[in-house]
Symmetry: C2
Amino acid sequence: MLWFVGAGINGYRGLSLAAVEVLKKCDTIYVERFTSLLSDSDIRGIESVAGGGNTKAVHVQRWFVEDGREILEAAKTKNVALVTYGDPLIATTHSELRARAARNSIETQVLHGASGISAIMGESGLHIYKFGRTVTMMSEPKSAISVYNTVFDNLLAGAHTLILTEYRRDDDNDNNKKGLFFLDPCQAIRMLLDVERDQRYGIFSEETFVVVASRVGSDDQRLVSGRVKSLAGVGFGEGPHSIIITGALHFTEEDALAALTVNLDSPSPDNTRAVRRMSAQMVERYAPKAKEAVQQMRNILRQDGGGSNSSGEGKNNKGMFEVLDNAEYYISDAERFLSQGRHELAVLSIGYAEGLIDALRFQKGINPWNP
Amino acid sequence: MLWFVGAGINGYRGLSLAAVEVLKKCDTIYVERFTSLLSDSDIRGIESVAGGGNTKAVHVQRWFVEDGREILEAAKTKNVALVTYGDPLIATTHSELRARAARNSIETQVLHGASGISAIMGESGLHIYKFGRTVTMMSEPKSAISVYNTVFDNLLAGAHTLILTEYRRDDDNDNNKKGLFFLDPCQAIRMLLDVERDQRYGIFSEETFVVVASRVGSDDQRLVSGRVKSLAGVGFGEGPHSIIITGALHFTEEDALAALTVNLDSPSPDNTRAVRRMSAQMVERYAPKAKEAVQQMRNILRQDGGGSNSSGEGKNNKGMFEVLDNAEYYISDAERFLSQGRHELAVLSIGYAEGLIDALRFQKGINPWNP
């Protein structure tokens, strides 16, 4: 039997009563430390609650869990527990090990623990249903691009983004805190500002409102919220850190941010306002230009038509005025659709209006568009 | 001092060691039951771990927590705990109470517990980073529409959707299971199929692959996965239930679904395939029609131009052929942009092509579009 035991986020004291009962009957206890904040004293704590020294808790490194063979072999004949930080199945490694066990007819059970992700969302006072996809930011620059895109998608939907930032234990046998690498929140934000300079979706600026959650679950947990420019000077201390880019805020969320975090700026700025769909950008840019082009074309046709006889060119121009009338209707439609959030119809309409105008342009060989 | 204590998802045995230490020093313990699965025997369990009967654990109903005045008043002078199912700050009610406490200078602390949401995601074997926005489905039909839209948004991003389904305790003083109302997963799925009939985004059909997670955290937890048509005959038993609509699946997720759930159909169907953006639907529907209209218009102009002299109408028609050539270029552009995932440009191009064609239609007073 293989037990996946979540230690929660309060050191070994995050273990549930149900988990302690299970550990007491286990022959072998592995404690995974790579993705974990469990210290040497936590290991001793696990041993003491498991039965006062009869069962040893063994530190294992990531490769040991990824390899998994020794764990699975032991679990075939003995009661084996794998203790991990947080909720055990959040890490893909553990979930995959469980599937392998099942395929090898080794029974598994999971004792869930408090999850860091859930705790961070809750501590922020933001509504959990308003979080979009969660993403992890590593220190390599490429990672920032995918984080940036996830934040963009979430903001378009008005949703918050939880960004977990890299932390790793560089020397698994060393409990010295210097062995832990944490990506600093200020560096992470700078990386996102760099991506903004390239991508220009208008997500990140000095005015963007963010929440930085540090060491959630530990005694010196701290949440700081404010605009990017206000956070620049803040020392966030040791990790793990995570960053929340807020979407549209409900007033109870604003109240919670003000009351429950170290709040440096009013939580009222809505980060979604700066983010415009490409469709909205198109209609906002093209509609005024198209209106001008219609006017320009009307003037040209009037001069042109006035100079000719009542038949011939003049007669043709009459049909062209009908085309321009329609173009104007569709420009208004595009603006109305945009205001209704019907983005595809808005783009279709502005494209259609441009086509109407340009058909005349091709026929008359004149350009009504201002550069 | 007001402690928010998460009981986790294993009855009172889901309490962490840290939570038990806190409960032991509390003068008053409120146990919230509305959003909770804590039974009478769990209440007795909480009392026994808190100090063997010296401190009573008091059932409280939802209105009592929402009102909150008695809790806050007590917390001004005493150590008060509010024990809730799962992770305490997931419920907005608790988060708001905490903000109110902070504004009234009442110190608060949170003991996180295993969260049902995190546990369900983990038990499914799906990767947590691939879940989009989580949504709750109530039994009233209107709720199904917003669930449907959330699933659509998530599928467009390739993401999974966790749908929590309604459960409530109709009589808070009655621990009889008949007092619990659970939305049946089959009914929830039928409601979503009904919305599909109206909205026609192509999300839900008998072939859609879903995971139903029932009673996660309890001893008779069960996860069933398969196509909608296969789930129709399954009795899911008592709740709480939740439903996962999978997005694009990684092969390790397929393996996990096959190994860790009662798997009725191969997890290979990709639910995102059926979901087409409105922009794609537009271009796919309009491009062939526009091609036909161009052809139709060419034929009309050729007959028209052939019957007239080399000047006049015929000369004008020549400019019109240039317009039709351009329409064809833009139809191809629309199809190319679509294949590149540049949806806005695809819609803009097809709209433009239609405008070019229709300018001629308005001028000539003829309709080249097949009904």
